[in-house]
């Protein structure tokens, strides 16, 4: 039969250890994790804004390749398997008003939507993102998926991105 303890000295130390280990550590890392998620989100937002801007001033047949390159250029230094993992950069043409429209000069009004899909690698995924493969006990999904989008209206006449009128020389010649 267990005898009651005759003194409770050291109880505070034990409680302190429990609090530090469980709450402080988890709390601090949760805050750090949240900051990383927000940081990545801001960064990819900036990247999608910049790729959108590339899309609206390049030729139609170069839109796909140039937006991919632009996203790579901007996100490249930040990409890390331990933190930020971009998975897909998509760009597609949209009618900004929901239907085909033309401006006063009879040019099509088009917009480009850029979409960057990326993962942020999570610490403590079993706590922060516990559902993985439909199982709560699988250790969680360490990859937290986020998506960032931007949309800009295309510059109207791509024939004149480099010159001013039909027989003109290029601006930079």
């Amino acid at each position: 039969m267990l005898q009651p303890l005759k003194n409770n000295h050291g109880q505070g130390i034990v409680e302190t250890l429990i609090v530090i280990i469980l709450f402080l550590t988890a709390g601090v890392f949760a805050l750090v994790q949240l900051s990383i998620v927000i940081y990545n989100n801001l960064l990819v937002n900036e990247a999608s804004f910049a790729t959108g801007r590339v899309a609206v001033v390049c030729k139609k047949d170069e839109v796909q390749s140039k937006t991919q390159q632009a996203a790579l250029l901007i996100l490249g230094p930040q990409v890390s398997p331990q933190n930020l993992i971009p998975t897909k950069v998509s760009v597609w043409e949209k009618n900004p008003l929901g239907k085909a429209a033309k401006d006063y000069a009879n040019q099509d009004i088009l917009a480009y939507t850029t979409r960057i899909q990326f993962f942020t690698r999570l610490m403590f995924s079993s706590l922060l993102n516990p559902f993985h493969m439909f199982s709560f006990y699988s250790g969680g999904n360490p990859y937290f998926e986020q998506i960032s989008r931007a949309r800009m209206v295309k510059s109207p006449d791509e024939k004149y991105y480099w010159k001013a009128y039909p027989d003109a020389k290029n601006f930079n010649e």
């Binding site: 601090v28 750090v32 927000i38 900036e46 601006f171 010649e173």
Partner: protein, 362 residues
């Protein structure tokens, strides 16, 4: 010696709370700083885009206005909008002549006279309208024709002369474009007091229209006499009789300035406008940033810059005759002024954003 009691546990969570708060504050500050940085970057880029596009749109309107003035008031004063100064077939200096079948000059007095294409002989439209003249006729013109050509000269001078209407639109362009760029970037952002705190405007290209004033001169003549010869001396159309006109001219006035033309060396380049918007770290609105800089080791807020290009374009053509000569050596042919304007007027100059450079420089 006082005994330290271990039986009082009040306040034991306080240190943990403070430690948590420190971490929370650090994360909070980092996110505030980063969010502010991203916001500033997008705002500065928008400011640069808007400034470039506003200047290009302004430039397009100036070109459209100047092109129309060239056409209506220099190229085609009082000539029905189709022909311009010098619609007079000049063969022998102060003697002008046309010849053709009966009825041709009566029905279409102007087109055959366009062949001359010499703006230095400017005469009144009234003089080119022939009245039917059987046989031979010598007419002394009265003072009304001098008044008519004086009116043309006054109109041309009002639009093309120094400090007149065309130059009132053309000359302020560089300064107005710069002011416009500054205004557009400044109003991009406001503080809580409603003051404009947008970035600074830095033009990276010179603002020029690439246009020059043709200074080869226009000489105005009036008709002192007209001679018509018809053979046979009765009007017959079929078979066509021969019919000719001679006009005797006398100089009324000479003006140095004529229409605007596009300078071949600079016109094609001047359409692209590249500007930079800069928000320096020392800007008033950055006071207090980075938030908590001492905690981060005294880091400095960066200067934020963005660059943008816009251009004017016209699918119809340049709208102005293009020449590669000095102003005094410019061509005196009127037809390019008319033709270039008519090709380009329906499209008009417009503005859009363009890539800053090649590759990914957007």
């Amino acid at each position: 010696m006082p005994k330290i009691s271990t039986n009082n546990y009040h306040g034991q969570a306080l240190p943990y709370f403070f430690m948590m708060m420190v971490v929370l504050l650090l994360c909070w500050m980092m996110i505030i700083n980063l969010g502010r940085l991203m916001y500033e970057k997008m705002m500065v880029q928008n400011a640069a885009d808007n400034a470039a596009l506003s200047i290009a749109a302004y430039r397009a309107r100036v070109l459209n206005k100047l092109g129309a003035m060239n056409y209506y008031f220099i190229g085609c004063p009082l000539y029905g909008g189709e022909d311009g100064l010098g619609n007079y077939f000049n063969l022998f200096g102060s003697l002008a002549v046309i010849a053709g079948p009966y009825g041709f000059c009566l029905q279409m007095p102007l087109p055959p006279m366009r062949v001359g294409d010499n703006k230095q002989k400017v005469v009144s439209y009234l003089d080119t309208i022939d009245h039917f003249c059987p046989g031979t006729e010598l007419v002394n013109q009265g003072g009304e024709h001098r008044q008519a050509i004086s009116l043309i000269r006054t109109l041309v001078d009002a639009y093309a002369g120094e400090n007149r209407l065309q130059d009132a639109v053309r000359k302020p362009y560089p300064g107005t474009a710069t002011l416009l760029g500054r205004l557009v970037t400044k109003v991009q952002s406001k503080n809580s007091s409603g003051e404009n705190i947008g970035p600074e405007f830095v033009p990276l290209t010179t603002f020029s229209l690439g246009l020059k004033r043709n200074r080869s001169g226009i000489t105005y003549y009036y008709v002192t006499g007209r001679l018509c010869i018809s053979a046979p001396p009765i009007p017959i159309v079929l078979p066509s009789g021969f019919h000719t006109h001679f006009w005797f001219l006398e100089e009324l006035d000479h003006k140095e300035n004529a229409w605007l033309y596009a300078d071949k060396k600079t016109f094609y380049k001047s359409h692209k406008i590249t500007v930079q918007a800069v928000k320096l770290s020392s800007h008033d609105s950055n006071r207090g940033y980075p938030f908590g800089d001492r905690l981060f080791g005294g880091i400095e807020w960066p200067d934020i810059m963005a660059i943008a290009s816009a251009a004017t374009y016209n699918d119809g053509g340049p709208m102005f005759p293009i020449e590669d000569v000095e102003e005094k050596d410019a061509s005196n042919k009127i037809s390019p002024v008319i033709d270039e304007y008519k090709k380009a007027e329906n499209k008009g100059w417009r503005a859009h954003l363009v890539p800053v450079g090649s590759g990914l420089l957007h």
